[in-house]
């Protein structure tokens, strides 16, 4: 059996040759690891790679190619993001060819000045239950056994969120890398009226992060794009997970798993008591 990487390349090449898609969004090798790439020529398909370093969600790039037919490589969480985006009318299912790759978890990035060495599976991947995208046109199975997942640490140990927020630089990397932050003007970046000033007063970081968390509640698919791109490693996924739990307890709603189930804030059932 061929490795997922060769299968991926073969598929991308045939899609581009048949002109089924204009463009394939995938990952390619770079000097520092892996980065997104946009392939429009069949010959270039050889550049595609697939490994546990492919952590940035590619779904956020889809909004840049609304006019084109795009093939996109998705992990389980990214597939969930696509489902949510379709529900929010942000994506045309017909013009997107979804190549689902079975994901066994991604590695935490080893960033500049990190004192820890060695690869470690990301925290959010330990909790993940959806390893294959729920929506797909083609499935590529993984040939390796799942990365060793350490048993999830007890969620009980609370984090000191205020001191974590204090470290924030407000670089907006969390917003920009998120598949769901498709607003053309971000409410926490807007000028007038400014909820959070551009030159942020440290105390405004509280509003910044809480507002973002409220906007992500019930939508976040815990792909970890925000967390892995954060320069000061604020575990944002854990915060959003907490709010998703609230949605699950109250409405039994898990974002991105079922295309038919409408997001609870959008539905009103007659006779429903608050």
């Amino acid at each position: 059996m061929s490795s997922p990487e060769t299968e991926l390349r073969r598929l991308a090449r045939s899609l581009l040759e048949k002109k089924a898609v204009d463009l394939v969004i995938g990952y390619e090798k770079s000097e520092a690891g892996v980065r997104p790439c946009f392939i429009s020529e069949p010959n270039e398909a050889e550049r595609l790679v697939w490994n546990p370093d492919c952590r940035l969600s590619l779904v956020r790039y889809l909004r840049g190619f609304k006019e084109k037919r795009v093939g996109i490589i998705v992990k389980g969480c990214d597939g969930r993001a696509i489902v949510e985006l379709i529900k929010e009318n942000q994506l045309d299912r017909r013009s997107t060819f979804i190549i689902a790759v079975e994901c066994n978890g991604v590695y935490k990035p080893v960033k500049y000045g990190s004192s820890k060495l060695g690869r470690q599976i990301a925290e959010y991947c330990e909790k993940c239950e959806v390893r294959i995208s729920p929506i797909r046109d083609h499935l590529i199975k993984s040939d390796v056994k799942a990365l060793e997942r350490p048993s999830p640490k007890n969620d009980g140990e609370p984090l000191d969120w205020l001191s974590l927020f204090r470290k924030c630089l407000r670089c907006m990397a969390c917003v920009r890398s998120c598949p769901f932050c498709y607003c053309t003007e971000c409410s926490i970046e807007g000028f007038k009226p400014a909820l959070v000033h551009k030159l942020v007063d440290p105390v405004e970081l509280f509003t910044f992060h809480l507002t973002r968390a409220l906007h992500m509640a019930g939508r976040c698919v815990e792909c970890g794009a925000c967390e892995s791109s954060c320069p000061v490693e604020i575990p944002l996924t854990r915060l959003y997970h907490e709010l998703n739990e609230w949605f699950r307890e109250k409405y039994g709603y898990v974002p991105g798993v079922n295309l038919e189930q409408a997001p609870p804030p959008l539905v009103f059932k007659e006779g429903e008591k608050p």
Binding site: S30, E31, A32, G33, V34, R35, P36, C37, F38, L56, R60, Y61, G64, K111, Y112, G113, S114, S115, K116, L169, C171, M172, A173, V175, R176, S177, H197, K198, L199, V200, D201, P202, A225, S228, S229, P231, V232, E233
Partner: protein
Amino acid sequence: MKMFSIREENLKVFLRELSLKHVLIAPFKRDGYFEFDVLRNPDDFNVNYTNTRLSPKRFFMPQRQLVFKHYPRKGFTEELKENSSVVLFGIRPCDASALSVLDNVLLNPPHKDALYENRRKNAIVVSLSCTKPMTECFCNVFETGPIRGTGEDLTFTHTSKGFVVEARTQKGIAVIGEFGELFREADGEMLNEYNKLIREVLDEMGSRLKVDKTRLIGIEKEAGEEFFQLNAQRCIECSLCSFACPLCYCFETEDYWEKDSYVRFRGWDTCISPLFTKMASGLDPRVTKADRLCHRFCHKLSRIPLTFNAYGCVGCGRCVSLCPAGIDIREVLRKWG
């Protein structure tokens, strides 16, 4: 300049003495990575640290700082506080060189930056040489390291028999004079090892990236080139690269009304942001992401050298490692250098 040496066990004593007289800022480990902060306990300092996640520029240009207050009846008050003397210990040569470039840019008359000057003049910069450069680093290209930078007052180099200390400025010599009993003149054996170390590290780095930096000047003529288009597709327009860069000095001001006065703050801004060049009329001279990305690279590698006679990049590799989309300045260097 003169070479001194200090024994390893004396370093802690030196740090303790320094922290009594000055505000001592040094890197230590916090939450899994190294960060500059006020060092209270000299034992926290680790000689074998790699580099700090964020650059030390925030001690000279904070992310948000007060420029002035205006009271409706009293008039303007400039809140230029005289800062206490700060020692930045253990900064890497690349970051120290970044400070010297910033000095070139911000302290050149007639456009002196008073806020920066106020913080800079009270600071003593002590660097610690990189003997094991990280994989992202390319400071050899701009000659800003790995052993000696350009902006430091003292350079410490770790050898097997202690630290070789090079005093680079009068300020540095004064510090050595202050703690004379801890330092000795470096002996020949140590200097031999030091010279050998310089050669070894430079050889190791030189094999990674060989670039003729003078050829970079004028690359803005290539603007609109396919390369930037390709990378722009990838760029997610976060401002991480500029915020982590030890050299990005663009700022923005914002005025607002506090309890009894108008205040003006100033803080970091970034040319990657689409709002950076957007004017009130709605005109935007740099509309596309490719334009902005090209501007960022060309400014660093071509326009700063033309104007200020120093390169706008010191090769610390922060942007390379932190960029979520994997945009790599080394590719620009390879392509045009």
